[in-house]
């Protein structure tokens, strides 16, 4: 730890505040993830990766940068990893999930914007984000109004994510993906080649496939991994070194298969299967997952950006030249069913499919406060679920702990409604 303290000081961080942040994150992790019975042993590795996200992982990236490596910060799953990686640039999602950090955003940001933005920049402003001084630049995107103006305020680079699904939008997005390629090439001085891009397409697909394989186990009658742990795996996948992550998932997949063979479930009781839908849960935030799974319900699918939306679709690998590859990458990301699209019927169709595939009996829509797109779209989701007789409940909340009692009552009553 002493080595890390030296590193944090050199990174210009506020050690005292950072200790508070780490303590807060660790005690929450203990209360939520570590209090689960029947966890797969391999989850240890993901716990360690979670804990090292501000220590060991930062040291790795420092080393990478010492050897000339470049790193960019990202805040959305629309920013194409494979293109950055093909230019030798490490893309690192920096969305904050810490409730502790939220109030530190007050210096620069209004109070009535979402906790995700406030937590992210609360960490930067309180000098508790080790990545703030590590990134060469950050790339924002246009998925919501608060984010757009945040990028303006901070003078960041921006990729324009179209909000409709017409041909013109598709073309605009392809142009943006090319422009992003230019940004990362300029940063690293490395030109993206067809061979290089095909390699990183396959690598990132491999990571997505691993996450998909873990998800497949959750379709079983007795899932060997909890929704809370599957969330942790997805959260870690956005921070850990991609090769190390793939290795850890292989170990987890093996253990999950063994557990299935032996009939070991992650849940000690029978419970109704739930789809979690809505806003993302960045690393450090698992409040709704925790309450839901402590109310006798099982989250067997999560369609959010920290769930299937992140890894459901692969990039086509049957490609001949660089332009085809760029188009394949752009197409894959253009298919992300984010609520910033109008209309977004793809998301409704995807949810209906998940309900069948995962044998889901109820849906919990977990919405971050001030996340207007998912909050309003929740009504469209609810209506579509009513038509097929699937009960749902919407929880609008933030990273704080003050409303846990009320949320627990609502979720437990929802569980009773599903049982009766």
């Amino acid at each position: 730890m002493d080595n890390f303290r030296k590193m944090w000081t050199e990174l210009g961080m506020d050690l005292e505040l950072h200790d508070q942040l780490i303590q807060d994150m660790s005690s929450l992790h203990k209360k939520t993830h570590l209090s689960q019975q029947n966890r797969p042993k391999t989850m240890d590795r993901f716990d360690r990766s979670f804990h090292s996200s501000h220590s060991g992982r930062v040291a790795e990236i420092l080393e990478f940068r010492k050897n000339g490596g470049k790193m960019i910060g990202t805040f959305c799953i629309f920013v194409p990893d494979e293109i950055a990686l093909a230019a030798g640039v490490l893309p690192l999602p920096l969305c904050g999930g810490s409730g502790w950090a939220v109030s530190y955003a007050d210096k620069l940001f209004p109070r009535d914007i979402c906790p995700l933005i406030r937590s992210t920049f609360g960490m930067a402003l309180s000098k508790t984000c080790p990545y703030a001084s590590l990134e060469d630049f950050a790339v924002g995107e246009t998925t919501c109004d608060a984010k757009k103006k945040t990028w303006d305020l901070l003078g960041m680079k921006v990729m324009e994510v179209p909000q409709r699904r017409n041909e013109a939008d598709r073309n605009l997005w392809l142009e943006e993906v090319y422009r992003f390629k230019g940004m990362v090439e300029e940063l690293s001085g490395i030109t993206v080649t067809a061979d290089g891009l095909l390699e990183t397409i396959k690598l990132v697909n491999q990571k997505r496939s691993a996450l998909q394989q873990i998800d497949e186990f959750r379709k079983l009658d007795a899932p060997p991994i909890s929704g809370l742990d599957a969330l942790l795996v997805a959260q870690v996948s956005m921070n850990q070194d991609i090769h190390a992550f793939i290795k850890d998932t292989q170990a987890l997949i093996e253990e999950l298969q063994e557990r299935v063979d032996k009939g070991i479930s992650a849940y000690s009781e029978q419970g109704k299967k739930i789809l979690l839908a809505g806003s993302p849960s960045p690393m450090g935030y698992a409040k709704v997952h925790h309450i839901v799974e402590n109310s006798g319900l099982q989250i067997v699918a999560d369609e959010s950006c920290t769930g299937l939306r992140y890894f459901r679709d692969l990039v086509n690998e049957d490609l001949n030249d660089l332009d085809e590859m760029m188009k394949a990458v752009a197409d894959r990301y253009f298919g992300i069913d984010c609520a910033c699209f109008s209309p977004n019927s793809e998301r409704i169709e995807n949810i209906q499919k998940l309900i069948k595939d995962y044998n889901v009996k109820g849906v919990v829509q977990s919405i971050l406060q001030y996340c207007h797109t998912y909050n309003v779209e929740a009504k469209i989701v609810e209506k579509s679920l009513k038509k097929i007789g699937i009960p749902s409940i919407k929880i609008v909340t933030d990273y704080s702990q003050e409303d846990i009692g009320q949320i627990r009552t609502r979720i437990e009553a929802f569980a009773e409604l599903l049982m009766d």
């Binding site: 003050e402 009320q406 609502r410 009553a413 009773e416 409604l417 009766d420």
Partner: protein, 249 residues
């Protein structure tokens, strides 16, 4: 076993009911306070050989400490309501820290519900806070509102902001009656908005501590243009439901 006990440990008050042969044998109510467990345990000593179901905000605390079963106040409220008014399909439960609208089927099973989130607007606590601003207890405050011939519009629903608004109304010379009624109207408007989301079934019941508020009851009847039934003891419905659920285990 034919003795069944329901404990509703709420944010403001705790209610305990014992039923024997589906008839209420004993009922009590006390302020929850900061340490309700000793009182709950003491009360329970009188019900030997009883099956106990805990509900309300403190249901986890009670079940962990006295070995009771546990249900949410939403399920318990529906059961209690159904027992008292079998034809009722919708019930509004206004408690200390939240308000709930519950829909049930012809067996008293919950089919859907609405509940306010973290904020105190639309709850009993809101009116208690406002009464304090006038240095009145809640009973006096309700009577003051009922004595008003007109009301001022209170635009803020946030407890903290509403208090500032009330203070500026007082300093601008508005009467306490007008302001007290205005605060009741703002609560009724908020509750009405929650109720108006869904088509109402014919029989509609108002329970919880809030149902004892005659001013609020009258305002709601006015807004909904219909009569709203209230049980004799609106605060006991949830505990009754819990006791009835105990009898089904």
């Amino acid at each position: 076993m034919n003795s069944f006990v329901g404990i509703d440990l709420g944010s403001r008050t705790t209610e305990i009911i014992q039923i024997v042969d589906r008839k209420v044998q004993h009922s009590e109510i006390f302020e929850t306070g900061h340490d309700p467990l000793p009182r709950v345990k003491e009360s329970l000593t009188r019900f030997e050989n009883s099956l106990v179901v805990a509900t309300g905000y403190g249901r986890h605390l009670v079940s962990a400490n006295v070995g009771a079963h546990r249900v949410t106040e939403i399920k318990a409220c529906a059961k209690g309501t159904h027992h008292l008014f079998p034809s009722c399909r919708t019930v509004l439960d206004m408690g200390g820290q939240d308000s709930k609208l519950i829909f049930m089927d012809d067996k008293g099973t919950v089919v859907d519900f609405e509940m306010n989130d973290r904020c105190a607007a639309g709850t009993g606590k809101f009116l208690e806070f406002m009464a304090q601003t006038f240095s009145m207890d809640i009973e006096k405050f309700i009577q003051t509102a009922l004595a008003a011939s007109d009301y001022v519009t209170i635009s803020s629903m946030c407890t903290v902001f509403a208090e500032s608004e009330v203070i500026s109304l007082i300093t601008s010379g508005k009467s306490k009656e007008e302001i007290a009624l205005g605060l009741h109207v703002s609560i009724a408007t908020r509750l009405h908005a929650m109720i108006a989301k869904i088509p109402l079934e014919e029989d509609f019941l108002f329970v919880g501590g809030g149902a004892k508020n005659d001013c609020l009851h009258a305002l709601l009847e006015d807004k909904l243009r219909r009569t709203i039934k209230r049980p004799e003891e609106p605060q006991m419905v949830v505990a009754l439901g819990a006791a009835l659920i105990a009898s089904t285990y």
